[in-house]
Symmetry: C2
Subunit: 340 residues, 2 copies
């Protein structure tokens, strides 16, 4: 029997279409496999083929834009926004526009072309997270920016134009609509109950267990109650934190471990799917608050197209989250050895 | 120079990325061509292969579910929602859900497998529009429904699973988020100015002309100021109408003509692209109002993937609407002969 479910934060309704219910093997798509052929500007020794590096974690004594790094951040060669502009807000009749000020950076997650993020060891993933944080702390100083988006496109089907594993960061002078909706929904809940809605969600999910995918000391991975996409997964810190830059060293380490664990489960159950992830955090001007809770949303790219979803904001999801969570929870992946 | 533009109705910001600006020929994709091979349940003589017809325009004296029709409406064989359910709103801790009551219907636009909607003559397109209206009038009687979505997926890349040209209709017990946002934005504008924002948009667009694609007595086709997708096109009635079921006979005829004209322009400029369209109309309980203006949104499927747009509600569009509008406006298509 199909069900309509409402996302408790944004109020978005989703159809969970059990008549069309799909198991992992029902999704027809290409595995993401590293081909490794051709020239790659993100590989070691090709540092001169990217714009000059913004920062890198590299061996002592090595020079900028030379080998010796393990995480490297460079400007996007084809940026969607430019850092040099002034805001210059203008009207055009009843319309509003401003110049495209912003930053668009690429975080090269490893020098090794043949590794996916899921294959890196937790320490290496943690360093990617530190790079995100260092860039946020730096870009925060620029008061033109209201929001920093961190996201990853993995696999061609998810929009990756280069296969060498990397994430992206966009600093924006406006808050994206979907983040704004989450902020308003969370603020409204807080006004009414004086509790963070995400904290309440974690509490309910840990108690029921039916949508749990993985957990460790500091994080839970859950299938959201009203997911837009099959096998959509959220990774949420267990204690209240409004901004991505707040976790402790110990917590970033736990975040790296649970992300690796979830990505291995997705690879196993869905046979190396393409996916996108985004980190949702508080806008820069109010990054410390009691009502919003930063988290990562992972969306495997399984259904071939979005169809009418774009025009309506209305999603039909053929896999109930209780089912996708069970598949992921029960996947046979190596036990996370915390002693690594 | 990239630009940030704000949609005046919803408040959504879009990056118009001129650094990546693309001409029609820059979009790599497959032409939508009718192959016509294999069995098709939407063809004449195969009426028994669909669920029993809900309505059809057919020759006098012909029987239901037999040949003789020119537009035929049937239930979707794999419905996302079911008409038999009761609403049965329930909580589950802090979550809300209800049973998936709704209707999901398919409008087969012609018996001819080898025609696309763009190839039908204006009279035939007008009859498709009358079928939409007849179904809305019928489904409106069911007070469980709050909204009726009409949409079309054309081509496999846009989500069409059968190539025989058809549209779809979903009746919902809730208002989709994006429609709700348009309604709120339009209502707020109206409170402030006592004018419909879409009427003001039409006025400004007709005056400037830079985003005009086509017009006739009753409709305009424009590229919106802040389009999410390259070559996105809106068709809007020139006089204020809040609901799709309100136009006169003469107006539906003009709507058919302008849609055919726009689809031919898209086929010509973009070489038969896949596309989605949706009709945005007022919710059923308040379908007559002064502040909302029904319209059709056409989204050619040109960019290969949505990437991070899904997770953020933030869109990057590589083609400024002034450019796409000029390409479409200047396309060499047969002059619409109003005497047909």
């Amino acid at each position: 029997m199909p069900e309509l479910r409402k996302d408790p934060v944004t109020g978005r309704w989703v159809i969970i279409s059990t008549d069309r219910a799909k198991r992992p093997s029902d999704f027809v798509r290409d595995k993401v496999e590293i081909r490794g052929s051709g020239f790659c500007p993100f590989c070691t020794n090709n540092e001169s083929k990217t714009p000059p590096e913004i920062m890198a974690y590299r061996k002592d004594g090595t020079q900028r834009d030379t080998p010796g790094w393990w995480v490297r951040v460079v400007p996007n060669k084809f940026p969607a926004l430019r850092i040099e502009e002034s805001l210059n807000r203008q009207g055009e009749g009843l319309y509003d526009k401003m110049e495209g000020v912003g930053a668009h950076e690429v975080v090269i997650e490893t020098p090794d072309h043949n590794k996916t993020l899921a294959m890196l060891d937790p320490h290496a993933i943690e360093d990617v997270f530190w790079a995100f944080r260092d860039r946020i702390l730096d870009l925060k100083k620029d008061t033109r920016f209201k929001y920093i988006l961190i996201f990853k496109n993995h696999g061609e089907a998810a929009g990756a134009s280069l296969e060498h594993t990397h994430s992206q960061l966009i600093a924006l002078p406006v808050v994206p609509k979907q983040v704004h909706e989450e902020m308003s929904g969370a603020a409204e809940y807080f006004r009414y109950r004086e509790r963070c809605i995400y904290c309440d969600i974690i509490h309910q999910e840990m108690e029921s267990g039916i949508r749990m995918e993985a957990e460790n000391e500091a994080f839970v991975a859950i299938a959201p109650f009203a997911p837009r996409f099959p096998f959509e997964t959220w990774i949420v810190p267990r204690v209240h934190q409004s901004a991505y830059e707040q976790p402790s060293k110990q917590e970033y380490s736990q975040f790296a471990r649970i992300l690796k664990d979830v990505l291995m489960r997705l690879d196993q159950v869905l046979e190396k799917p393409a996916y996108n992830f985004v980190i949702h955090t508080s806008p820069l001007p109010e990054s410390e608050n009691e009502y919003y809770h930063w988290h990562m949303e992972i969306m495997p790219k399984l259904t071939k197209v979005a169809g009418f979803e774009w025009g309506t904001g209305f999603y039909i999801n053929p896999t109930p989250p209780e089912q996708s969570a069970r598949f992921l929870r029960e996947a046979a992946v190596p036990v996370d050895d915390q002693s690594i």
